[in-house]
Amino acid sequence: MSTSVETSPLQSPAITPDAQRAAFARRRRLRTGLLLALMTLIAVVMLYPFFFMIETSFKSENQFVNGTGGFSLSSWSQLAQALPWAREMLNSTIVCACAIAIILAVSTTAGFAFAKLRFRMSNYILTGIVAAMLVPIQSIVIPLYVNAAHLHLVNSYFGAVIIYAAIGTPFATFLMTAYYRSLPDEVIEAAIIDGAHYFGVFRRVALPMSIPALVTIAVLQFIQIWDDLLVGLLFLQNPSERTITVGLGALAAGRTTNIPVLMAGSLVSAIPAVVVFLIFQRFLTTGLTAGVSR
């Protein structure tokens, strides 16, 4: 590029600065076009499951198996029978809401305490809780299951909620501690001087200041719990209590051959999490990268 621009004015006075600019702009456009094409290609790959689910769900079983085209609503009319999705989505919502409420309650109080009310050993306790992030659920699921069975907590919302809450708590506590550490001490001291006790400072000052962090945690946990299979599979086995993801997993494992119905169910189950994602994308990003940004 540089060579042509540098030499051409000598050879032909016809190439004016305007023409140079035009050439430059053309090259730019070409580059932009190429980048866009590449990005579109990646987008197609990433969106493929959505295309596939939508397309397949609007076929009848025969149309799908024979690979013929066509449009049919039969899978949608059979969906409710194969997958009690309304009930199961309600279950998912209940479990998510309760678990998130517990996570928020314990992680904000603990995060505030670790960040601003440091006491002897508090750093070790924080390290312990954060280290629990490394405990894979598969490592403890067996004792958990047996314990829950003893306590008659299998097949009750309560058992699943507590487990989800516990799994989410270490990361949430880590996030809240980091967040509260960034609050200026002066604000807290001002409230103390104004006559608040420490819990009052938390409730009236720190908590209202941390709404963005709360949203981040809620969104992150919502997607995680909504999409989880393993815990639900073991602790919510009853069709009347199981979550939509468990219902779908069970349907798939049942080797249902009616794939259009499965795809309709998948689509339905994915919608809430995708909607939440689209609305709260910004918060999700901060949550994901909280581990690295200093």
Binding site: F52, S139, I140, L248, L278, L284
Partner: protein
């Protein structure tokens, strides 16, 4: 001030040992702090801590959930001499081969997005969106995608390669490839976001200074940009590795059920199969401890490497 109402001085002061230098405020702070961490600590200890202890103990038992016989540490030596165990570990090791792809592809995509072509934010959302879908759904679609006469076959024939019928999922040694590809695909969103955040923290003046020094784009990438992204690459690698070990249960459950044979049985799936398929709770617990140790090592390595950074 003259109308001083409720006089707070009236309250009974708590006396203290002055030489200790601990004020009433500090004492209140510590007391409140202890109470406020209690719920989180109890929850984590009861649901995550105690079961780990139980799992360690139970791993040395022959246990079906009801009756147990003590075996002792030899349970481990016994497990490690089982070829099936190593078959499963091999699957995990093979899946780790997907980690570089799951990290480098998103890194490239992040640089691509960072060109900030008009509309790039829409693409960012699109790439990120699959993180919201469950592995169950992804697995279900992937299952059809890789199936015989599925879309993958069609793609091959469209390029005139119709004679290749990959049919990965029905082959004991290739099914894992399908799982690996799906895994890489599903990590794209998360890792791209991590790298975009990383790229946003780059200090442009460093790159500009190097440009003035006459380096080419490639040299700048290797010597200027990459070192600055080190933290982020480390973080996303760890996250991807942990996911490869612990997040694929649903995918495998839906996609292959661990098969064909032990073709796609990873450690985490093996735990589930043993415990809840065959009622071997003791062996399952043992496998769980193996998994936990691996994760702890990965976590500690990351921690150590990040420390070195600071």
């Amino acid at each position: 001030m003259t109308t001083q109402t409720a006089t707070p001085l009236g309250k009974k002061p708590r006396l203290m040992n002055k030489r200790s230098g601990i004020s009433a405020l500090e004492r209140e702070r510590a007391r409140t702090g202890r109470v406020m961490i209690l719920p989180a600590a109890i929850l984590v200890i009861a649901v995550l801590g105690v079961p780990i202890g139980q799992a360690i103990y139970r791993s040395m038992e022959q246990w079906d959930g009801l009756t147990a016989t003590w075996i002792g540490p030899s349970a481990y030596t016994h497990a490690f001499s089982d070829p099936t165990f190593w078959r499963v570990m091999e699957n995990n090791a093979l899946l780790l081969l997907a980690v570089p792809f799951a990290v480098l592809i998103p890194l490239g995509i992040a640089f691509l997005l960072n060109e900030k072509v008009p509309g790039w934010k829409v693409f960012r959302s699109i790439y990120f969106m699959p993180t919201a879908i469950s592995w169950v759904v992804i697995g279900m679609v992937a299952l059809r995608f890789f199936a015989q006469a599925g879309p993958l076959d069609s793609i091959f024939s469209a390029f005139g390669l119709g004679f290749i019928h990959p049919n990965l999922l029905s082959n004991q040694h290739q099914a894992l490839l399908a799982v690996g590809i799906t895994f890489v695909w599903s990590m794209v969103g998360t890792n791209t976001i991590i790298f975009l955040t990383g790229i946003a923290t780059l200090d442009p003046s460093l790159s500009e200074a190097a440009q003035v020094d006459g380096t080419n784009a490639w040299q700048r990438l290797i010597h200027i940009t990459m070192p600055q992204l080190r933290r982020f690459i480390l973080f996303s690698s760890t996250l991807t590795m942990i996911s490869a070990f612990t997040a694929l249960f649903s995918l495998i459950f839906v996609m292959t059920g661990g098969g064909p044979g032990y073709g796609t049985t990873t450690l985490e799936f093996f735990i589930y199969q043993n415990a809840f398929g065959q009622g071997q709770f003791g062996y399952g617990a043992l496998l769980g401890i193996v998994l936990f140790v691996i994760m702890a090592v990965v976590g500690l390595i990351q921690l150590r490497l990040l420390r070195v950074d600071d």
